[in-house]
C-alpha cells in the first residue's frame, strides 16, 4: 500500500459523491484521515500488532461518525426525543383515592409492599414445635355467573407466622387447587413440593423449618426446608385458607377485558395437632383486608354466597378465607413509565446505525476504508464499538436526565407514597433500568448496523429491525397469551424487560400481560436476547463482508 494509491482512491470517491455538502465534507475528512494513517501504516508495517490495528480502526470509525453533521444531529434528536417522550408519558396522569386517604399497604420483612390477607385459625407456639394437619378437602367457591369455575390458586394449609400483623414473617406449607403443594415463606419465596399427599407437617427447630408430606399420616416424606430468621420464639401457628378472586380475561387485537369475581377457599382440616404450643383453644382471625371488591356500576348489590370465617368442632377445623399472601401486584411500574422515551429514541438511532454501514457501500467509501485498513472484520468490530458506545452514552445521559423529572411529575400527579413507591436515581432498580435501556438502544443501533452490512441497503435494514423490535410488541397484545409471551421471548423486543423495576412472580395469580408492560424474562435475561441477535447478526455480517466484494 502506498500513499499515492490511497490518494487516488480517495480522489475517486470524491468524484463519485459530488452531492450534498455533508457528503463532501465527510469524504474530505476521511481522505485526510486515510492519508495520515496510511503514512503511519507504511512506516510501521512490520511492527503493527492486531491491537494497534483495531485502535486505528476505532479512531477512523469515530472520525467517520463524528464528521457527518447529519448523524450528529440525528443522535442529538434521539436524545431530545427520549427526554421529551419520557416526560410526556409521565405527565398529566391522575390517581383517584376513593374513600379518603388509603391505609398504608402492608410491608413484608424486606420492606417491600406485599399482599397479606387470609383467614387464620391459630394458637401460640413457644420455641420449637411441630404442627400436623390432614387437609380433608379444599374447595374453591366463585361467586356470580362464573359459579361453576374454580380458582387454581385457592389455597389452604398450615402456617407458622411471627404475628397477626399483615406483612409479618411466616413459613407455610400449603395445598392449592391447581398448582400442587408448595412451601412458601416471606411472600417472595416459593418452592413446589414434589411429594403427593393430604397430610401436611411443619417442624420448627430454631430458625430452621422443615416440611413433610404424607398420604396416610404415618409414612412421611421430607418435602423441603427453609431457614427464616425473622420469626421470634413466640409465634402463631395454625391452619389457614385464602383465595384470590376468579379472573376471566379476553384479549382481542388490543382490547382487553378482565372480569373479577370474588372467590373463597374452604379448607377442612382434621387431626390437627400442635406440639410445643401452650395448651389452649384455637382463635380465628381474618388477617389483613381482603381485596376490595368492585361491583360493576349499576349492578344490583350481590349477596355473597359465603363469608370468611372458621369453625372448630372437635378435631375438625373448617376455614373459609379470601385474599392473597403474595408480593405486591405488578400493577403500574413507575420506573418503566419514566423511561418510555427509550422506544422513540431507539427508532431514531436505528437510522444512524443502518446508515453508518450502508452509506459506506452507497458512496463507495468502503473501498477507501478497505484499502486503508484491509481487515474487514476489524472494521465491523470497530464500527460496532464506536456506534454502540456513542449511542449508549447519549441514551444514558438523556434517560438519566429525563428520569428524575418524569418521577417528580408522576409524584405530583398522585403517584406517590404511600400508594406508590418513590423512585430516585439512587435506587438500584432505577439505575439498572436506565443503564439497561441505554444498553438496549445501543444494541438495537448495532443490530441495525450489522443488518446494514448484511443487506447493504438502508431501507431493508431499517425495516427489518423495526419489524423485529416494534411489531412483536403490537402483535403481543393481539395474540393469545402463550403466543405473545413466546414472541416477546424470541425477538429483540424481549430486551424491554430491562425497564421493569418489579419482578413478576410466577407463583401468584397475577397475569403477566404485555399490555401492562410485563415481559416474560427477568431484566438482564431479557437484555441477553437482543445481545444474542447482535452477536448472530455480527457474525453473519462478518462472514458476508469477507466473502463478498467490497
Amino acid at each position: 500500500m502506498t500513499a499515492d494509491g490511497t490518494n487516488a482512491s480517495a480522489g475517486g470517491t470524491n468524484v463519485g459523491t459530488e452531492g450534498t455538502e455533508s457528503n463532501a465534507a465527510r469524504t474530505d475528512a476521511n481522505a485526510g484521515r486515510t492519508r495520515a494513517s496510511a503514512g503511519r501504516t507504511r512506516a510501521g508495517a512490520e511492527r503493527t500488532r492486531p491491537g494497534t490495528m483495531l485502535f486505528r480502526q476505532i479512531r477512523a470509525e469515530w472520525t467517520k461518525i463524528r464528521t457527518v453533521r447529519r448523524w450528529t444531529l440525528t443522535l442529538l434528536a434521539a436524545a431530545v426525543a427520549m427526554v421529551v417522550v419520557s416526560l410526556l408519558g409521565a405527565s398529566g396522569g391522575s390517581v383517584q383515592h376513593a374513600g379518603g386517604p388509603e391505609a398504608p399497604p402492608p410491608k413484608g420483612p424486606d420492606g417491600k409492599v406485599v399482599r397479606d390477607a387470609f383467614r387464620f385459625v391459630h394458637q401460640e407456639m413457644r420455641g420449637d414445635g411441630t404442627i400436623t394437619a390432614h387437609l380433608a378437602s379444599l374447595k374453591s367457591l366463585v361467586e356470580g355467573e362464573a359459579g361453576s369455575k374454580s380458582v387454581p390458586w385457592a389455597t389452604a394449609g398450615i402456617m407458622v407466622k411471627s404475628g397477626l400483623r399483615p406483612g409479618a414473617s411466616y413459613v407455610a406449607l400449603l395445598s392449592t387447587r391447581g398448582h400442587g403443594i408448595r412451601l412458601q415463606n416471606d411472600f417472595t419465596h416459593d418452592k413446589a413440593v414434589s411429594a403427593d399427599g393430604t397430610w401436611l407437617r411443619l417442624t420448627r427447630s430454631g430458625s430452621r423449618f422443615t416440611a413433610y408430606v404424607s398420604s396416610d399420616g404415618t409414612s412421611w416424606k421430607t418435602a423441603g426446608g427453609v431457614t427464616v430468621r425473622g420469626i421470634p420464639a413466640n409465634a402463631r401457628v395454625g391452619v389457614f385458607a385464602a383465595s384470590p378472586p376468579h379472573t376471566e380475561m379476553s384479549r382481542r387485537f388490543g382490547s382487553l377485558s378482565i372480569l373479577d369475581a370474588p372467590a373463597h377457599a374452604i379448607g377442612t382440616f382434621d387431626n390437627v395437632t400442635v406440639t410445643g404450643a401452650e395448651p389452649g383453644g384455637w382463635t380465628g382471625t381474618t388477617v389483613g383486608e381482603p381485596l376490595p371488591e368492585f361491583d360493576p356500576p349499576g349492578a344490583p348489590p350481590r349477596t355473597p354466597l359465603v363469608k370468611d370465617g372458621s369453625s372448630v368442632s372437635g378435631g375438625t377445623i373448617t376455614v373459609t378465607g379470601s385474599g392473597e399472601i403474595a408480593p405486591e401486584q405488578r400493577g403500574m411500574d413507575l420506573v418503566q413509565k419514566g423511561l418510555q422515551g427509550a422506544l422513540v429514541g431507539m427508532l431514531v438511532v436505528v437510522a444512524v446505525g443502518a446508515l453508518s454501514m450502508t452509506s459506506e457501500f452507497r458512496h463507495g467509501l468502503v473501498r477507501t476504508t478497505f484499502t486503508v485498513l484491509p481487515r474487514r472484520g476489524g472494521m465491523l468490530v470497530a464500527k460496532a464499538l464506536v456506534l454502540g458506545v456513542t449511542v449508549f452514552a447519549v441514551s444514558a445521559v438523556a434517560l438519566a436526565v429525563a428520569f428524575p423529572i418524569a418521577q417528580s411529575r408522576l409524584r405530583s400527579s398522585g403517584f406517590r407514597p404511600p400508594g406508590f413507591p418513590s423512585w430516585s436515581l439512587s435506587d438500584p432498580e432505577a439505575l439498572r433500568a436506565i443503564a439497561g435501556s441505554a444498553l438496549l438502544v445501543a444494541l438495537v443501533a448495532v443490530l441495525a448496523m450489522a443488518f446494514g452490512a448484511v443487506f447493504r441497503h438502508s431501507a431493508a435494514a431499517i425495516a427489518v429491525v423495526l419489524l423485529i423490535v416494534l411489531v412483536p410488541q403490537i402483535l403481543a397484545s393481539a395474540l393469545p397469551l402463550g403466543a405473545s409471551r413466546f414472541l416477546l421471548s424470541v425477538t429483540p423486543a424481549a430486551g424491554f424487560a430491562v425497564q421493569q423495576s418489579q419482578p413478576h412472580y410466577a407463583f401468584t395469580a397475577d397475569m403477566c400481560l404485555p399490555e401492562d408492560g410485563c415481559y416474560p424474562f427477568s431484566p438482564w435475561a431479557g437484555l441477553a436476547v437482543p445481545f444474542l441477535y447482535v452477536l448472530v447478526a455480527m457474525l453473519l455480517a462478518w462472514w458476508l463482508l469477507r466473502r463478498r466484494d467490497a
Binding site: 468524484v15 463519485g16 459530488e18 452531492g19 450534498t20 455538502e21 463532501a24
Partner: protein, 308 residues
C-alpha cells in the same frame, strides 16, 4: 435552438455558487464549459434544466424556461450524473421509463442503445453491475433518446476508456455538424482540445472567458516571440522602437512581447540586425486555462468549497 444564460445567481447558505453568470450557447457548435471543480458548472446546468431555482437571473432554452417546454426531451437531452441509475433496474428499463415519459416509441430504445454501444446483453443486465463507463454510455443514451435539438452533457468523458473518449468526441462533433446545440462541461481543458469550437470558462461562480478556441489561445500566448541574435543590444533597440517589450534571457537569446513574429522579423530585417531561430511561442489550451483559472484554483484550495 440556443441556450441563453443571463445573470444567474445562486447561493448555498454562506457559499455563493453562481455570481452573475451569463453566456449563450449556439447551435452547430460544440461549446465547452470548463472550470475547476466547484466553479459552478453543474449548478448552471441544473438551473438551465429547471432542477434548481436561481436566486436571480434566468436561463432559457430556445427562448423559454425549461419547465415550460411542451416536449422537453425532444428539445433537450441531458446527462448530469451518470451514476443516477437505480442499481436494481435493467439498463433498458431505465431508458424505457424515460421513453414513456417523453411519449417515444420503443424502437428508439434499440436505436440509441445501438448508437452508444450498449446493444445486446449489457442493456438487459441490472445497472448495479455496470462499470462507470457503461453507466456513462447509458446516461448518454438517455440524453439522445428524444433526438433532441440541444444536448447538455456534464463531464461525459469521466470513466470512459481511450476508445470511448475517441467515440464521444466523434459523437459530439457529428451532433454539432447536424446543427444541434451541444454544451459539454469538463474540469480538464485537455479533454476538450480538438473537440470544442467555443469555450466558456467559469471560475468562482463567474464567467472568466467566453470565446472561440483560437481567440483564447491567442490571448493566452500573448504574442510572445523568442529569437537568437549575435547583436543583442542592436536587436533590443530596434525591437523596442518597433513597439515591443524585449527581455534578454541569455547571452544571445531574447524574448519579445507586444509584437508578432512577422513584425519582429520585418523590423530586424529593415535595420539589418542579424538574427536566427525566430519562433512564435504558441500556448496550449491547457496553459491558457491554467492562466485563466489561477484565481479560482486558489479559491478551491481554501476550506469549505461549494458544490460543483
Amino acid at each position: 435552438m440556443e441556450i441563453e444564460v443571463d445573470g444567474l445567481r445562486k447561493r448555498y447558505g454562506q457559499v455563493s455558487a453562481l455570481d452573475g453568470v451569463s453566456f449563450t450557447v449556439r447551435p452547430g457548435l460544440v461549446t465547452g464549459f470548463v472550470g475547476p471543480n466547484g466553479a459552478g458548472k453543474s449548478t448552471t446546468m441544473r438551473i438551465v434544466l429547471g432542477l434548481d431555482a436561481a436566486d436571480g437571473g434566468h436561463a432559457l432554452v430556445g427562448g423559454r424556461p425549461y419547465r415550460s417546454l411542451r416536449d422537453p426531451l425532444r428539445a433537450v437531452g441531458a446527462m448530469l450524473d451518470a451514476a443516477a441509475v437505480h442499481p436494481g433496474r435493467r439498463g433498458r428499463d431505465h431508458l424505457r421509463w424515460i421513453a414513456h415519459a417523453a411519449g417515444l416509441p420503443a424502437r428508439r430504445l434499440d436505436e440509441v442503445l445501438e448508437q452508444v454501444g450498449l446493444a445486446g446483453g449489457a442493456a438487459k443486465r441490472r445497472a448495479g453491475g455496470y462499470s462507470l463507463g457503461m453507466r456513462q454510455r447509458l446516461g448518454i443514451a438517455a440524453a439522445l433518446l428524444g433526438d433532441p435539438r440541444v444536448l447538455m452533457l456534464d463531464e461525459p468523458v469521466n470513466g470512459l476508456d481511450p476508445e470511448g473518449i475517441v467515440w464521444i468526441r466523434g459523437l459530439l462533433r457529428s451532433l454539432a455538424a447536424e446543427g444541434r446545440t451541444v454544451l459539454v462541461s469538463s474540469h480538464l481543458m485537455g479533454e476538450l482540445e480538438g473537440t470544442a469550437d467555443r469555450l466558456v470558462v467559469i471560475g468562482r461562480g463567474r464567467i472568466i472567458a467566453d470565446a472561440s478556441v483560437p481567440e483564447l489561445l491567442a490571448a493566452a500566448s500573448g504574442g510572445r516571440v523568442a529569437l537568437r541574435t549575435s547583436a543583442p543590444a542592436d536587436a533590443m533597440a530596434v525591437l523596442s522602437r518597433a513597439g515591443g517589450t524585449v527581455a534578454s534571457v541569455g547571452a544571445d537569446a531574447l524574448t519579445v512581447t507586444g509584437l508578432d513574429a512577422e513584425a519582429a522579423v520585418a523590423a530586424l530585417g529593415a535595420s539589418r540586425v542579424p538574427f536566427a531561430e525566430v519562433s512564435a511561442h504558441r500556448a496550449t489550451l491547457e496553459e491558457a486555462y491554467m492562466e485563466l483559472t489561477r484565481d479560482a484554483a486558489e479559491f478551491e484550495a481554501a476550506p469549505g468549497g461549494g458544490r460543483s
